[in-house]
Amino acid sequence: MRKADIVLALFLMLIGLLVIWDSARLGYGWGMSGPEAGFFPFYMGLGVVIATFFIALRAIRIFRKEGSGKPLILPGGLSPMLWILLPAVGMLLLTELLGLHLATVVYLAFYMGVVGKINWTKVALISIIVPLAIYILFDKIFLIPLPEGVWGKNILALVPF
């Protein structure tokens, strides 16, 4: 984990430097009527760079003395996390095409059936009822529009309400 500490500190320092660079473009001094647009971000970026510098220093010192420390991700932990992340990303990409609710039907069916190995009748019931209920609740009752995707609108128009 100590290595990750150093890497993250350096990565954040990079972000701080990017912010400082952009603030320089905007101007961080005193403008015509007050602080320029880059004033506040400049000092925030500067603060990030200085703080991460000391964090990285401290992390390197501890790393030299005590070695790597605990692993960043618990053994056997990466796989479950990826099993959450990747299907979720898949669902989002599917949403671009089909819209959120239809994509969720596929997502729920996939996750419950394949990962959870739940029997398919239950899977079918839940994957259809839950998104349907949320669709009615949000789209019809609360009137909050949710992503429809490229083809979603056409498919949903087939539903009779």
Binding site: M1, L18, A37, F39, L85, A88, T95, L100, I126, L146
Partner: protein
């Protein structure tokens, strides 16, 4: 008394049937949210903020706040029965709550938790009702330098309260401000930190960040540990309630002290989580039977729960009077208020008195209702956790995605949510506290405009922030709080050198 008549008016508003119905529904939602790990008070409120757009502001804030009170009550259920904290502020109650449950006294543990919450809530809301108008009057004299000074004090206190490394807290705060600044600058109209990309022009919304950091991140961390939901079954019987009340009376000093500790930390931007730990530590160190702690000591359950709820309730106080949220969840609620067009702060008391007092009245009503609901239906709520994880988890992500999208109707926000989730995992593991970052994200534009206006007032002289009579002591206190641990460390080092080897 003016406060009394306002309080009665507020209760009247809160007891309107529509508002009571909203309160009950939101309390139930909140308890469910508190019970489920992954859906927390902060992101539960965040997800439901868009629903409040369709309601009048009073009902909207009652809804958001009741989710918070429900989550406070419900967090203990999962901790006691499953040894898994459903909320960050419910970690401390696992220490003694779960052993008590395993020893067969689950009902008693639950009752102690709920009653302590109720007591903490009462203490908190009494303090809130009496002090809010006084502080609001005082805050009316705040100008930009004073507002900026309060912000500095807030963040200075946060660096010391949140986690072990002040440097990492600072980084989190600065990053939060930077995130808040991405997009168009209101004053100059220039685009900041967008690097020519269109998605970044819209900036980052705190709701999306909260859902990602606290929600998705928490889910990742939960599955990483491979948690199995095997818990103790529980029923709450009248015998449990009777025994619980007796225990509460036995430990009334700890109960009161913990509630006050909670209230104190709630007023400061710390929130329920540090409050629960502090109260637990206090109860343990002042207990006659220290070795009982960790094995099922009653005061080990009473202390953190009373403190957590006292903190949550009192977090409202600085939020409605000064516009400084006292806890991360309160920051989200405040964000919701700002979206509704009600800027929290002293003007709120003047211009929207009925709203503020209706809100305060609802806190009284809701916490009593919440206590009844959770006592009566605890086993039902606990049963939710028995739903298979592979069914629950994708549904939670689905709901989170809806919450993230509904803020601004942008797909990119859902992607941001996932990215914030990954960031949340790294931050949590490497000890970068997330609460200060969220606070900075919520307060970012307000803080920046206060600082800008102050500097214009002072014609570029930074000493404007130290203007007496209000700004000066606030800044001095901020510097004192920030540098105090550094001084104590130096003093210790110096005196260690002087001691004979």
């Amino acid at each position: 008394m003016d406060i009394f008549s306002n309080w009665i008016m507020g209760l009247g508003v809160a007891l309107q049937p529509y508002n009571v119905m909203i309160a009950v529904v939101s309390l139930i939602l909140g308890i469910i949210v508190g019970v489920l790990p992954g859906l927390g008070g902060a992101n539960g409120c965040a997800i439901l903020i868009p629903i409040t757009f369709a309601m009048n502001p009073t009902a909207g804030v009652i809804m958001l706040a009741c989710i918070y009170w429900g989550a406070l009550y419900g967090g203990g259920i999962c901790s006691i029965l499953f040894n898994i904290p459903g909320e960050p502020w419910a970690v401390a109650v696992t220490f003694d709550g779960y052993p008590m449950a395993k020893a067969g006294k689950a009902g008693k543990a639950l009752v102690l938790s709920f009653l302590s919450h109720g007591f903490g809530a009462v203490v908190g809301v009494i303090l809130l009702t009496f002090f809010a108008p006084i502080i609001a009057e005082f805050a009316l004299r705040f100008g930009p330098p004073e507002t900026a000074a309060v912000m500095v004090l807030t963040f200075s206190a946060m660096t010391r309260l949140g986690g072990k490394s002040a440097l990492k807290s600072l980084v989190a705060i600065f990053l939060g401000f930077i995130l808040a600044g991405v997009g168009m600058d209101i004053v100059s109209g220039k685009l900041r930190m967008t690097f020519g990309t269109i998605p970044l022009m819209g900036g980052f919304n705190f709701i999306v960040a909260v859902i990602g950091l606290f929600g998705i991140g928490e889910i990742f961390l939960t599955v990483e540990e491979g948690l199995k939901m095997e818990g103790v079954a529980a029923k709450v019987t009248f015998k449990d309630i009777r025994e619980g009340l007796i225990e509460l009376l036995r430990f009334k000093k700890i109960l009161l002290m913990s509630s006050l500790i909670g209230c104190w930390l709630g007023i400061q931007p710390g929130g329920a989580t540090p409050a629960s730990f502090m109260a637990y530590g206090f109860a343990k160190s002042s207990a006659a039977d220290k070795d009982q702690f960790g094995k099922g000591a009653s005061s080990g359950v009473i202390a953190p729960e009373a403190a957590a709820h006292g903190a949550g309730t009192c977090a409202t106080l600085p939020m409605i009077t000064l516009g400084i949220p006292g806890s991360p969840t309160m920051a989200v609620i405040m964000g919701g208020l700002m979206i509704m067009g009600l800027l929290p702060g002293p003007m709120l008391f003047k211009e929207h008195a009925d709203f503020v007092w209706g809100f305060i009245g609802s806190i009284w009503v809701a916490n009593v209702l919440g206590l009844i609901l959770v006592m009566a239906f605890a086993p039902l709520f606990a049963a939710i956790l028995r739903i298979k994880f592979s069914i629950l988890m994708p549904i939670i992500i689905y709901v989170c995605a809806i919450g993230a999208y509904a803020v601004n109707n942008r797909m990119i926000d859902i992607y941001y949510m996932l990215i914030f989730g990954i960031v949340g995992v790294f931050f949590k593991k490497l000890d970068y506290p997330m609460a200060p970052m969220v606070l900075a994200l919520v307060l970012g534009s307000m803080a920046e405009s206060a600082a800008r206006q102050a500097l214009i007032m002072g014609r570029g002289n930074p000493l404007i922030f130290f203007k007496p009579p209000i700004a000066l002591p606030l800044m001095l206190l901020a510097l004192f709080l920030f540098f105090l641990p550094t001084f104590t460390k130096w003093k210790k080092k110096l005196s260690a050198k002087k001691a004979p080897v």
